[in-house]
Symmetry: C2
Amino acid sequence: MTDYVISPRSGVSISLREGQHLKVSCIQDEQVADLVAFNPNQLEEVLSNGKTFDYAETIQLTTGHTLYSNKSNPMLDIIEDTCKTHDFLLAPCCPKTMKIFYNIEESVPTCHGNLYAALKGSGVKQWQIPTAFNIFMNVPVRPDGNLKVLPPTAKAGDYILFEARMDLLIGLTACSAPASNNGSFKPIGYSVW
Amino acid sequence: MTDYVISPRSGVSISLREGQHLKVSCIQDEQVADLVAFNPNQLEEVLSNGKTFDYAETIQLTTGHTLYSNKSNPMLDIIEDTCKTHDFLLAPCCPKTMKIFYNIEESVPTCHGNLYAALKGSGVKQWQIPTAFNIFMNVPVRPDGNLKVLPPTAKAGDYILFEARMDLLIGLTACSAPASNNGSFKPIGYSVW
């Protein structure tokens, strides 16, 4: 097992073989990691929140649930989860998010940009970045359907452990949106074995 | 204005020009229509639930909300809505849905198949079919995140009216999943002007 750190407001790509494990850890309190996944042999196959919600019959994914692709294939099993609060509703933050929610016009790091930067060398196009599985992101949905991004409940030491169900090209960030991490950008840890 | 009928368990493609209106109607009680949208000049631009949830800050889209693309562009404004219960969480039903939820092994009509059949002549690939905006689909989410497909609340005469914010290639179905329409497949009406 090797431990890596994703610097604040940045992203990495990770190659996983079927059966390998990916552990994503909160190093300091309250940080979010956007995760996307592609079939490296066929980049048109990509993580899908709609397929996952359908088969899991819940929007709160945790231990025992599987993340599915747009082709209905299992990509990642969640086999351990100490936090239990993640989001799979919201697209990765991007320049328009920064403009609408923070009135930031200038170029700043975003998860969408960081995922693309990490994955473009493998052939992923910018428009192919799907809605991410937002690890540790705290987005409660009220009975009327309204949602709000709240500070993560994750504390240092919390983690989520995945097992790959197929070979995967993963994109993973330390999130760049102030609301997602309570206004303080922090690193994210991960290990692969 | 022209009125069209989508036969039970089938789908159509519709070309909309920016500024045109699309009205989708419940002809008989309790039926669902899966809607997807593409930029006809650049098929890589497609309807996105993640972007839409992000900008609308709700998963219950109705009058006053806008459906966005994966490139953060407005695709469709909802300008009237007599039903107010729609789903944007679940992917269109497909052979795997039929197997898992209904134990149907043989080939039967599905929304995914019907959308692809309607759109492939325009160059859309099967894997490009996104999570649809499921008009009249009734999928309440409980506080614990669990969801369930219930019979639609829509009655004959209910409708939703969209205005196109850009030129669009639309795919639209009369849904083929028994749970979505209370086990009785019915037609869907639409008009364009």
